[in-house]
Assembly symmetry: C2
C-alpha cells in the first residue's frame, strides 16, 4: 500500500467536494485501490476565508506555484477554473512531471490540443472526466467503454441550467424571463446567465465529447452555438401538441465530408428517452455502429457529483502510473498521430427537419401563397397548424414541421417567405433532432 | 505497434459479432489502441456448419482445448455459455497464463469467486463487461467511473425479454400469455422462456452488479428471484391509474445489517426515468453517496451490442498487460482481501411499500373489516381503490398501496386477510420500488 499525494489548486465548491470524498470515503477507495491518497497542499486565493471542510494537517498556500512545484506532489488537481492562470499552472505541473486531473471544460476545449501534446512529451496523464456532465462517467464510456465502435453521433443535455429552464417552461404561464429569475433565486443560474443560457458552456463540453467520439482535434471555435433565450412558452406548447419536447442539445455527428458540432435548441420526440430528462439533470446519448443507441444520465454539476468524477480520475491516474506510456489511454482517446483531419463543417451544411412558427395575415389564400412558395423551393411540410393570433385578430399563427432539408436551402426559403408581404418578418426556426 | 492474438471459444451470435467488429472496425480500434488484434483460432461445435462471418485465415477447430492451450494466444474469449465445460476451459486458460474475456453471466455469478482467485494466482485478468446488460458499459461505470463513491443501491432492467413483455402488456387486451407468444415469434423469447421470464437470467446479472457495487463475494444462491408470469394486464392497468409502471427490476441495496439482492416485479413511479425504458432495452440506475442518482441505458443483448462489450474488454486487457499486477482493477472491483463479510439478508427483512390486489365480497362492512385488520397489524394504506369485479358481480376488486413496512410483517398481514371469510385466498402482492 503506497501513499499518493495530491496538490489541489482551488478550494471552491468542487475543491471542497473533493476534500470531502478523500476524507470521508477514503476507506471505500482504499478497499478498491489498494493504495491510499493524501492531500498534501491546497492553494487558495485567500487563506483567511472560512472553509466548509476541515483542512487540518494540509499545507495551505496563497501561491499556486507552491502546489505545482511541490516535490512530494504526485498529482495536481486543478479546480480553479478559467483559461489563463489555470492553463499556465497546469502546463508548469506537466513540465514538472506531475499528472493532472482537471474539471476545467473551457481550458480543455480551448487549449486541450496543446496540453495533451505537452503531457505526451512529459510522459504524464491529463484526466478531465469532471469537465463534461459532472458525475456521469461519459468520458470513460466514450474513451473506453465504447472503444470497439465507430461512433456515429452523440447528443446531450449537457447544461443543467438550460434544462431546468426549459423543463420549468412546460408549466402554464412560465415564460423564459420568469423562469430564469426563479433559477437565479435557486442558485441554478448565475447573475449573468449568458454562459449557460447562450450555450457557451455546453459548446465547451460538446467540443470535448466530439473529439473523443470521432478522434479529431479540439475545435471549439468551429462549434456552432445557439442559446435558448429566444424559445417562447408558445413554442414549447406547440412542440408538445406535435409530440415533441424542446431540449437544449449539444449534437455531434458525421457528415458527408467531415463532422458537425453544434449546440442549439432542438425538438425531440417524447418517446425518445432523453426527452424525459428533466430539471438540472444531464444526459448524453451515444450511437455506436455496433452497440447502437446508449445513454448516460446523472447530475451534471454540484460539489458531490463533480468531485466524484475528479476522484475517479485520481484513482485512474494512480492505476495507470505503472503502465508503459504507449499503453495508456491517449488524451483524446485516439493516438495523437491518428487524429482525423476531416473538417468541422459550417451549420449551413447540416441536414435537418425544422419547426417553423410565424405570423401571417389571416386572409384567404395566404396559406396557399406560403405553401406554394415552400413547394417551389422543395421544402416539404410534414405537419401544419394554423390558429388565430392572440395578439392580433387580423393575424394567424402558423406552425409548420418540415421534412429533412439542407440548412442553407431552408435559410433561402425563410428569406423568400419573409419577402412575401403577408408574412411577418420574424420567423421562429428550431431544428428537430433525429435521434432514432 | 504489437499484434495481440485472440482465441475464441464459440462462434454463435456473439462470437460472430466479435469477429465482425475485429474485421470491420479494426482500423478505428487501432487508431485508439496503437496495437492491432488478430483472431488466431476459433473453436466451434461443428466445423461443417455455415457461418455468417468470413473465417478465412483463422484456424478453426472442434477441440476447444486447442484454443486454451494454443501457445500464441494472448487472450481467450469465452462465448460458448454454460457453466460446465466453459468453466473448465476458462480455468485451463487461466492456468496457462492467458487473460480471459467472457460474456458468460451464469459462469461469473456462480463460479466467479473461484475464477477470480485463480486469475489472481496466475497474474491474469478476467473481464466480463458483456455478462451484464450487453453493450452498456455498466461494469466499467461501477468498477471505475463511480469508484469514488460508496454505492447506496442500484436497480436495473437487466432482462430485455421481460421488459419487452411488460411494455407490450401496456397495450389494450394484451395479457401475459399472448404477449409471450409474440415475443417468441419475434425471437425475443426462447421456446422455454423460464430463464428470462422467471428472473434467473436477471438474478445472475444482479449478483454480479451487487458484488462490484458493494465489494462482496458473489452469492447467487442468496439472490431472491421472482418472475413476471403472475403479473396480469389488470395489475398494469391499476398501476397506471396510481401513476406507476410495472418493471422487472433487479435491486441491490444496503440493509441495516448487510445487503439485499433481489429480482422481482416492481411498481416504479412514472416520473422516474427508468420507468420510461421500454421494449427490449436495458437500463441500470446506480445511486452513489457523492454522485447521487445516475443511469446507464442501452441494448442488453444481440450480436453487435454484446460484441461491443467483449471487444472493449479485449482493449482493456491489452492496455492493462503492462501494469503491475497490484495496480490492475480487481475482478470484483475491490481487492480480494477487502471483500465485506456482511450477510445477504432474506427477502423477509426488506422494507418496502406494496401494491395489493384482491377480490372481496362486495358487502357493506367488508372494507371496514379489511382496513381494521390492516390497521391492527400496523400496515398503513396510502391509496385504496375499489371497483366491482368483472368476473363475479358479488365480488369487488380491491387495490391498495401500503406505506413502507417490513416484508415479514406484510406477510403476516396477508395471512390475516386471507383468514377473513370475505377475502379471496389469492392476493396479488407487488413491491413498490423506492428509487428517489
Amino acid at each position: 500500500m503506497k501513499t499518493y499525494k495530491i496538490g489541489l489548486l482551488g478550494l471552491g465548491t468542487v475543491g471542497g467536494g473533493t476534500v470531502n470524498i478523500l476524507q470521508n470515503t477514503l476507506n471505500e477507495i482504499e478497499r478498491r485501490l489498494g493504495h491510499t491518497i493524501e492531500i498534501s497542499i491546497i492553494a487558495v486565493r485567500d487563506l483567511n476565508r472560512a472553509r466548509p471542510v476541515d483542512t487540518t494537517g494540509i499545507q495551505m498556500t496563497e501561491n499556486p506555484e507552491d502546489v505545482v512545484n511541490h516535490p512530494d506532489v504526485d498529482i495536481v488537481v486543478e479546480l480553479m477554473g478559467g483559461t489563463g492562470l489555470a492553463k499556465e499552472l497546469v502546463s508548469q505541473a506537466i513540465r514538472n512531471g506531475k499528472h493532472v486531473v482537471t474539471a476545467n471544460k473551457a481550458m480543455i476545449a480551448e487549449f486541450g490540443n496543446e496540453l495533451f501534446a505537452l503531457a505526451d512529451e512529459n510522459n504524464v496523464i491529463v484526466n478531465y472526466e469532471a469537465a463534461v456532465a459532472g458525475g456521469i462517467p461519459i468520458i470513460k464510456a466514450l474513451r473506453e467503454g465504447l472503444a470497439a465502435n465507430k461512433i456515429e453521433w452523440l447528443a446531450g443535455i449537457i447544461n443543467g441550467t438550460g434544462n431546468y429552464i426549459l423543463t420549468e417552461m412546460e408549466e402554464p404561464d412560465a415564460d423564459f424571463d420568469k423562469v430564469l429569475k426563479v433559477a437565479q433565486e435557486l442558485g441554478y443560474a448565475e447573475a449573468d446567465p449568458t454562459f449557460d443560457v447562450e450555450g457557451i458552456d455546453a459548446a465547451h463540453k460538446l467540443t470535448i465529447l466530439a473529439s473523443i467520439a470521432f478522434g479529431i482535434e479540439l475545435q471549439f471555435n468551429k462549434t456552432y452555438t445557439e442559446g435558448i433565450s429566444r424559445i417562447t412558452a408558445e413554442d414549447i406548447h406547440f412542440a408538445d401538441q406535435f409530440g415533441y419536447k424542446i431540449k437544449h442539445l449539444g449534437i455531434a455527428n458525421r457528415t458527408e465530408n467531415g463532422f458537425s458540432l453544434r449546440v442549439h435548441p432542438s425538438l425531440v420526440k417524447k418517446d425518445v428517452l432523453i426527452a424525459n430528462v428533466n430539471g438540472v439533470m444531464n444526459a448524453v446519448m451515444v450511437k455506436g455502429d455496433h452497440v447502437g443507441p446508449t445513454m448516460y444520465y446523472g447530475p451534471g454539476a454540484g460539489a458531490g457529483p463533480t468531485a466524484s468524477a475528479v476522484v475517479a480520475d485520481i484513482i485512474d491516474v494512480i492505476r495507470a502510473q505503472s503502465m508503459t506510456v504507449e499503453d495508456r489511454i491517449p488524451g483524446l482517446g485516439f493516438k495523437a498521430d491518428q487524429l482525423a483531419q476531416a473538417p468541422v463543417e459550417s451549420i449551413d451544411e447540416i441536414h435537418s427537419a425544422y419547426y417553423l412558427r410565424c405570423f401571417a395575415k389571416d386572409n384567404a389564400g395566404v396559406l396557399a401563397q406560403i405553401t406554394t412558395k415552400l413547394a417551389e423551393l422543395e421544402i416539404n411540410i410534414e405537419h401544419l397548424h394554423q390558429e388565430p393570433s392572440e395578439e392580433n385578430p387580423d393575424d394567424a399563427t402558423l406552425v409548420m414541421l418540415t421534412e429533412q432539408v439542407k440548412e442553407s436551402k431552408l435559410n433561402q426559403a425563410l428569406e423568400a417567405l419573409i419577402a412575401l408581404e403577408v408574412v411577418d418578418s420574424e420567423i421562429q426556426r428550431i431544428r428537430i433532432a433525429d435521434l432514432g
